[in-house]
């Protein structure tokens, strides 16, 4: 079995020297009964090969919507990408036609989802769902595709892969199902993997196994990984860089250790302070006051200002704070980042 991946030029016009993935000023809106919900308001970040970027934020901050937009699986309508670009190796994916765009999925950019039980089709065997990728994208025969499916299950370390390939998703445990999802995402050797809360539905020991497996597969393949999560613990272990999102905007972007050592945005700082710590046992936990804003009614100026203890008049006025370069490879959207950093 030769690997024919290299012979297939899925996407012509790519520039190997351009960044692997670059999202610039992405805006996504949803039309709802209560008006237009601005889910993503100018998200920007980049990703290099072999690198792990964690996108961190509360529920509803736009991180999953951003991921769907990159994959091109946003429900349109009600969703709509109003502005911005998503460049893969220099090619703007938003300008591609349907068939070209479709070929990017799974071949170049793949995604794994939070709940593997509902994300897998209940009425087909996992073998069918894996083999389908090889049959559709590589034109393989049923038998060849099935052999590749078994290989994949082996690679994600599912025991007795040859006999389990004919099992249905409900016959696997939660952790094993997530392994199947990972196998499916990696089937066509994508260069970018988006993992949307891949371990949220799993218990802690299984979480660690899955994250370990992901990290190992990423190293082997030199893949760029976008890890979407709200779990600060997971982020600290595996991420190289962090983008913190709030109300559809990246409010801070920095190497992971810098963020943990010295957050540059009040929101990041508040998030870190809300993690229970052993050395602060017995003391009251710091929580962030209030709720994230409704996406149909985002406050003027900095979206975080109503909940921010640093907020002053300029924060309440448009335009919102720009991305200040607060250190090399670090940005924060806060007028008072110096105060926050404690300089």
């Amino acid at each position: 079995m030769t690997d024919i991946k290299a012979q297939i030029d899925v996407l012509p016009g790519t520039d190997p020297r351009a960044p692997l993935l670059q999202v610039n000023d992405l805006h996504v809106e949803f039309r709802t009964r209560d008006g237009v919900a601005k889910a993503v308001n100018g998200a920007s970040f980049w990703l290099n090969p072999g690198e792990t970027l964690a996108i961190l934020g509360e529920s509803g901050c736009g991180k999953s919507v951003t991921a769907s937009a990159i994959m091109g699986i946003l429900e349109t309508p009600p969703g709509r990408i109003t502005k911005g670009e998503i460049r893969y190796r220099g090619v703007d994916l938003l300008k591609l036609r349907g068939a070209e765009r479709r070929r990017v999925r799974a071949n170049k950019i793949a995604m794994i989802f939070q709940d593997a039980l509902s994300a897998l089709n209940p009425v087909y065997t996992v073998g069918f769902q894996l083999a389908e990728l090889f049959r559709v994208h590589r034109g393989m025969s049923r038998a060849d595709a099935k052999n590749r499916a078994v290989d994949l299950l082996d690679q994600v370390r599912i025991p007795a892969a040859r006999s389990r390939v004919d099992d249905y998703p409900h016959q696997f445990s939660g952790g094993m199902r997530q392994r199947v999802m990972i196998a499916m995402a990696l089937a066509l050797d994508p260069e970018v993997l988006i993992a949307d809360e891949p371990t949220t539905a799993l218990d802690v020991t299984v979480q660690a196994q899955i994250m370990g497996l992901l990290a190992e597969l990423q190293r082997q393949r030199n893949m760029g990984l976008i890890l979407i999560t709200h779990d600060m613990g997971v982020v600290a272990d595996v991420a190289d860089r962090i983008s913190v999102m709030y109300a559809g905007r990246v409010i801070e972007e920095a190497p992971v250790h810098d963020v943990y050592a010295r957050p540059g945005h009040p929101y990041t700082r508040a998030l870190l302070e809300s993690i229970p710590r052993l050395d602060l046992k017995g003391q009251q936990l710091n929580v962030i006051r209030g709720l994230p804003p409704a996406l149909t009614d985002i406050p003027q100026g900095c979206a975080f200002n109503p909940r921010c203890r640093y907020a002053k008049d300029p924060c309440r006025q448009d335009p919102p704070p720009p991305a200040y370069a607060i250190a090399p490879r670090r940005t924060a959207r806060c007028h008072f980042f110096r105060e926050v950093l404690g300089e």
């Binding site: 994959m71 699986i73 479709r102 070929r103 990017v104 999925r105 799974a106 071949n107 793949a110 995604m111 989802f113 709940d115 509902s118 994300a119 897998l120 089709n121 209940p122 009425v123 087909y124 065997t125 389908e132 990728l133 559709v136 994208h137 249905y168 409900h170 999802m181 499916m184």
Partner: protein, 308 residues
Amino acid sequence: MFRYVVRRLLQMILTFFGATFVVFALMFANQDDPVQALAGEKPVSDSLRAQLTERYHLDEGFLGQYWYYMQGLLTGDLGRSLTGREISTVLSEAWPVTLRLSLMAIVIAAVIAIVAGVYSGIRRGSLFDNGVLAVTLLLLAMPIVVLAPTAQLVFGMELGWFPATASRNASFYAMLLPAIVLATTVVATELRVTRTSVVENLRSDYVRTARAKGLTPRRVTWVHVLRNSLIPVITLIGVDLGTLMSGALITEEVFNIPGVGLKLAQGIRNEDGPMVVGFVSILVIIFLFVNLLVDLLYAALDPRIRYE
């Protein structure tokens, strides 16, 4: 699986006795004088009356008659109709005609329901969806006793597109109009269920996964969504068999098709107890078996269902 089938078969025996008992009781209560009904206006001689009474155990009470009847039925003897013909002969002549008619109706209804239902579901709120909605409402509101003669009048006689009646050896084409009429009794609900099921499944996570795998929308719909959406539809098609049977009664009567429905209608009119009960007993058995089959097919469609 085996135990499930055995249990279902045992349940079927109970249902079978219950159903035949009810039908037998209804026919018994409706009987005035079957001997006279057979003879029509002509007077019946005493010796003939005595002979018929003896043969059909008409002097026995209700339970006695039921007992004799079940005895015959379980030994494979459906008995004789009051017209003197073997009921099994009448049935074997009528059955293939009805089988053909209802199979055509089932296929027509299923194909239309599934294709139109899926498109309606995909294009929710579109002109097509709303058009289909209006048509199904119309069909649901129109009973077959109105629809069958109307279709016969319009398409069979006025426009002359189809033959107005169908004989025993009717061509496929001659059978088409009755089959379409019969299909209308079930197509609307099947379509609505397909549509709802597709709409629901399109929202599910596995569809998002399928799209993330770079599959074409066509493959997502017809491979991933369809099989999940068919699960409730298949069940419905099994249940619809009852509706089709009662529909066949009217359709065959209107189009003069010598099938089970027409014979049954004749039997009811002639107070032909043995005939009606015999026919209904067989229909009950078929209905029960088809529903068992549907439930087993259900397991083939949905691997999560295991009959333990």
